[in-house]
Symmetry: C2
Subunit: 367 residues, 2 copies
């Protein structure tokens, strides 16, 4: 293998493919990047088996070939080279030589034949979506994904395409996040994607209206960007029927300014941190929301103007769950719907109907 | 105690005084900030006994008084309040009330009488220096301070004022940093200041030509800025006679571009990280410096244009020590003076004579 390429392009491709290298694999070859030179194109693959990222760049390829090189060391070397042409060449005895201006590195490379095969994806069910929308939909739901592995399916996000709509859904037993976008397709798809995959994808996606192609197979998903392909296994099993969890009716509804409410709850939670209970009480009154919290540290009382439809209510929450939702939402005005002090609370935008958040209250001893 | 002040001013004063609160003290009261309201001035003190920081702000004081409040909690509360007037008031039963707009906090405060007395400094030996110069002098030397406590005096920086000059000196047994500035004074002072104190001071100092007053006593140093006083104990004992360590003569001298050399050494050290030896070899030739490093990871060779006076030499270093020096220096051209492969190397600016760095080489088996 021998090729010449621009340092900047190489660095970019390496840093994208590196995102799939976790260093936690039992297979030593997966601590490396697979580098293939062929037909004036360099392909760089990083993988932890579940998730693989492939990026491509142009190069002058003098001799085709494949090698595997330690991901971290290669990344550090390329990053620190001068911004100029880099020559990479395999020598005898499994040596890889990297040269740029007056810098010369020689490292031992691994055998490319030992690198696992990346699943081949037949491009049969393809949908397209703007990068910025996908990025936003991931951000709007990923915080609600289950952190523990008790029910593995809940560590992923449900992709549900039907009726010209894409819904993304995450839930962890205490809260639920649904984010929807209209979507011009006659396809019907249900798949659960590991949150780790979506976390890495959202780092690669740009805030642009350029399209991202997504291909689904029985067991895998492929995200196809211009020079980058991300392939991930899907989670097996059936997702919870989330629609049945979301109450359709409510007894009272409040409207409030989102940022004001976020600030009040964040301040109130300063006193609620002790013992990690994060317990805050909401006293919903006519025109007014009182937020209080008590602990050994002291007491706090916050007051917020609201518009109330229905009867006053007292209800308690883990403040973290409300803060997560209010931080993620983007509209100025939000609504919260309640049925009783022991029923879930539903949070939505007042104007734009593209998300539904559900948070379970904390049952107090005197409820 | 009762006063009214601007949230922003209060937040700034708290965040400055907090720098002295380490949370590592055995005295629980030192986890708090001492707050004193008197004559329309609020004084806030944080301390870990060795180092105390006092900051002042204007306020409408309705009732004089002193309290001690948990530093972290108070800082968090004030930081999250709306940017408006804050009212702080002591109530019965050791309760402190903090109110701002519709936010109301009540916390238990500690007894101000339990707070240790901050040393009183007679302002007898005062010198003045520009903030930006002091900040730069600290940055130029502090990285060479000894990290272990084997010789406590070496965990500080020597301040040496004499002959219209301020020298600041740090050394750790492997390297030495001397930074000097001319200084219009007839005073003669020698003091060793703990590096922790100077680290905190440099965070408070601004890149401005405003003056900083420094007062020395037998056991303490006082840094006096506009609204802030930093008081620190001095280290006891005598500093090493550093001038006798610096060789006056040399056999060869090279001149090189500082940033180019830094980049070469940083790249070479990528291969030297294994086993934390950081060993790199310098092969000083006519017009050319070869920097090499070998390890199980691989080999690297870097080449750099230099101007050589004297005979070629091969010498080895811990790359970290050279990188620390080259990163800190600011001039474009540097000089390095050598006597032999086992004698110290002296690094200076070519044009501006305000610093001397000494680094010991690593003795190789074949030397």
């Amino acid at each position: 293998m021998k090729f010449l390429c621009q340092k900047n392009k190489l660095q970019e491709a390496i840093s994208i493919s590196q995102k799939a290298v976790t260093g936690k694999s039992t297979l030593p070859v997966l601590e490396g990047l697979f580098i293939s030179a062929k037909d004036d194109t360099i392909t760089i693959i990083g993988s932890d088996i579940d998730l693989s990222i492939e990026s491509k760049l142009e190069a002058n390829v003098f001799e085709n070939g494949n090698v595997v090189v330690d991901s971290k060391l290669l990344g550090e070397i390329i990053r620190r080279l001068p911004n100029d042409e880099v020559e990479i060449e395999t020598l005898e005895n499994n040596i890889l030589q990297i040269s740029c201006q007056k810098s010369n590195f020689t490292l031992v490379h691994l055998n490319a034949a030992d690198y696992p095969t990346i699943p081949h994806i037949d491009e049969d069910i393809v949908v397209s979506i703007e990068q910025s929308i996908m990025k936003n939909m991931i951000k709007s739901t990923i915080f609600s994904v289950a952190q523990d592995e008790t029910r593995p399916i809940l560590t992923g996000i449900l992709f549900e395409i039907s009726d010209n709509k894409l819904n993304m859904v995450a839930l962890d037993g205490y809260r639920l996040a649904v984010r929807s976008e209209s979507f011009d397709t006659d396809k019907k798809i249900t798949a659960v994607i590991p949150s780790k995959t979506l976390n890495e994808i959202s780092k690669i996606l740009e805030d642009s209206d350029e399209k991202l192609d997504i291909t689904f197979t029985q067991n895998h998903i492929l995200f196809n960007l211009k020079n980058t392909k991300v392939i991930s296994r899907l989670l097996e099993g059936e997702f919870i029927k989330y629609t049945s969890i979301i109450p359709e009716e409510y007894n009272l509804k409040i409207k409030a300014n989102r940022v004001d409410m976020l600030n009040c709850i964040e301040r109130a939670s300063l006193m609620a941190k002790e013992g990690n209970t994060n317990l805050i009480k909401l006293n919903i009154q006519e025109d007014n929301l009182l937020i209080t919290s008590n602990s050994q540290l002291g007491k706090v009382k916050e007051e917020l103007s609201i518009i109330l439809q229905g009867q006053p209510l007292q209800i308690a929450f883990n403040s973290k769950y409300l803060i997560d939702v209010l931080k993620t939402m983007e509209e100025e005005e939000i609504s919260m719907e309640f049925t009783s002090a022991v029923s879930p609370c539903i949070i939505k935008n007042v104007n734009i109907d593209n998300c539904i958040y559900l948070v379970l209250p904390v049952r107090l001893l005197n409820n």
